[in-house]
Assembly symmetry: C2
Homo-oligomer: 342 residues x 2
DNA sequence: CAAGGCTACTGTATCGTTACAGATTTCTCA
DNA sequence: TGAGAAATCTGTAACGATACAGTAGCCTTG
């Protein structure tokens, strides 16, 4: 078309008004597009002075690589996908989580995409979607199960991911987890320190991995301190608050009501409090309670409850670092971490 | 390269193992890539039977358009960007918001990307980023100000967006807002119904638009019901809980302590409760409180507080519908909505 | 001083899609 | 019957980036 169109890549001067591309820089520096591309990624076969010049111009014009271009050519999406359940959303745990992840991603080229699934039986759907469409470079999942099919799938495909919570499949993968074993042990200890001897646990659903952890810590403490376990298995922290309250009322009215209770979730603790107050019992008198909480609002309203804080924002940060590490090839052992209550 | 390479687009049979593209379908149907592309978007110049055939094959092989390809060619990203503050995050409001948005986007080709900014003075940064890089097709922002520079910028560039909260710039744009005027009016009314006469308001920071709305509703009710306003302007709902408690303690100890208080935020209400209980006052006796809350946990622990629920998840849904509508060209008037407390 | 090697740079093809400008065949109607 | 319209279909180029396979010039080295 154009007479100038021979022997040179960047012939048509790109308009100043539009978003600068490699072509823009190539035109401005008089270099080839390839050279500019390689200069910007500090390739060894480009002269030092040229690199400097290219970097300068790129900065001047505010060059930012076109994500679609990179993605199409290389397959790299620069996206981290956070897989979320729309249903089992409890007391806004995802909020600080998203914040924490964002904090870390902000200083990287990664974007955070939220990929939801609606019912727990569809948990595999978003994972499959990401795998099949290459929608992200890495995935973050929560609510892990001992034998987690999502983990199995991503391991099999060698796809970078990190879990919030551990698994038990004999497969090493990046994770971040809260030390629920330690939490439960310490919680019982605190109750024992207050002279409590008949202790119940409101635990996570058996399906999830941390059920075992919390249970183990609890049971170990019960043995170590020689106190008694009061069974409370009719509900778990995934039940509705109304159900939890009802169940706890029943328990508190029964002859073997506990004098200490450990709550695996802050939201559930609210229901427990409501339940015991309904039957006329009082915290610090008839019963003491220790609860894992994601924020400190509970201690504002019921300072009688002993709270142990799970820092979800911190978890978000750790998870983000771990996926990125996994993508970058950091050995798995360095991408596994546990948090204690703070 | 290949002898077959003449006169036909899709010559090399795409491997069955890889992700299907238009080329795959073209090969399988014996049609041209262009035809397949146009058939799938139901273009008028493609035969009915051909369309049917293409659709069938596409479904069979599980074809999903490559987002990078579309984005590169058309500029359409199929991304909605939720702009979030990392700092002013109050009591997990973003969580149900994200869920609500996701619910709507799930049945569309849109993905949700979270784009954070760290300090309120940088609120323009993510918006500029999206505008400059074309990172999204639409933006959702919160914490609007009467003269909001983000809104001005996006309006000027004619970029699709929706605000959570209104503005006051004489520019019509899509928004969803909670009816804070109505909330405050109703809140005062409830206090008056309980016989309260000296009423304070813990309001949003004056910078934000809904400060005016809440203030107006409050003031109107004060006039209508002929009761007295007790000034409480030393803090607002963006202060820390500790600051709010301290300020409220001071107020409650002063000679003109209020006998009714309206809280513009559920988190702040916790601090208010703590403050008044510290000075030995009792809810329902010395003072009554109405609070706007994002969830119902407050009524579990302090049923004495009258709560009015702001359904953030619903707001998320409305916002998502509004941006999509804006992108699709729906008239602005149809994309503005207000929610009452539920 | 020729052969080979090194340094610095560049063109082409390609990723998957779509806009656009044809191309081919069949149909219509004067 | 033949010209033009209508109905279908198709190739090429382009979006922005990068992998790859060069090329040109200069420097060694025997």
């Amino acid at each position: 078309m154009d007479e100038n169109n021979k022997g040179r890549q960047a012939t048509i001067p790109p308009s100043m008004n539009e978003r600068p591309t490699l072509k823009t820089i190539a035109f401005m520096t008089g270099l080839g597009i390839t050279t500019v591309s390689r200069a910007l990624k500090d390739a060894p076969d480009i002269g030092a002075e040229t690199k400097e010049r290219v970097r300068l111009v790129a900065k001047q014009v505010g060059y930012q690589p076109n994500r679609a271009g990179v993605r199409l050519r290389t397959g790299k999406t620069n996206v981290i996908s956070l897989v979320l359940s729309l249903e089992e959303e409890v007391m806004g745990l995802t909020s600080p989580m998203v914040i924490g992840i964002s904090e870390i991603l902000a200083s990287t080229p990664y974007h955070l995409v939220v990929t939801p699934y609606s019912s727990s039986k569809d948990a595999l759907v978003p994972v499959r979607y990401v795998l099949d469409t290459g929608a992200a470079d890495g995935v973050i999942i929560s609510r892990t199960e001992p034998k987690d099919p999502r983990v199995a799938l991503m391991m099999e495909r060698n796809f970078p991911f990190v879990t919030h919570g551990r698994t038990d499949m004999g497969l090493a993968h990046p994770y971040h987890d809260f030390d629920n074993e330690g939490f439960a042990y310490e919680a019982v200890k605190r109750l024992v320190d207050l002279g409590r001897k008949r202790i119940a646990l409101l635990q996570p659903p058996p399906r999830l991995t941390f059920h075992r952890h919390m249970r183990d810590g609890f049971d170990r403490a019960i043995r170590d301190f020689g106190v008694e376990t009061i069974a409370f298995n009719t509900v778990d922290i995934d039940n509705t608050l109304v159900e939890i309250r009802a169940a706890f009322e029943t328990l508190m009215r029964s002859p073997d009501a506990p004098d200490g209770i450990v709550s695996g979730s802050g939201a559930a603790a609210i229901a427990l409090i409501a339940g015991l107050e309904t039957v006329g019992k009082k915290l610090n008198q008839d019963i003491d309670m220790v609860s894992k909480v994601p924020s400190d609002f509970l201690s504002w309203l019921r300072p009688e409850v002993i709270t142990m804080n799970e820092d979800i924002r911190h978890a978000g940060r750790e998870l983000a670092k771990a996926v990125i590490g996994r993508i970058a090839g950091t050995p798995t052992e360095e991408l596994q971490s546990l948090s204690k209550a703070v």
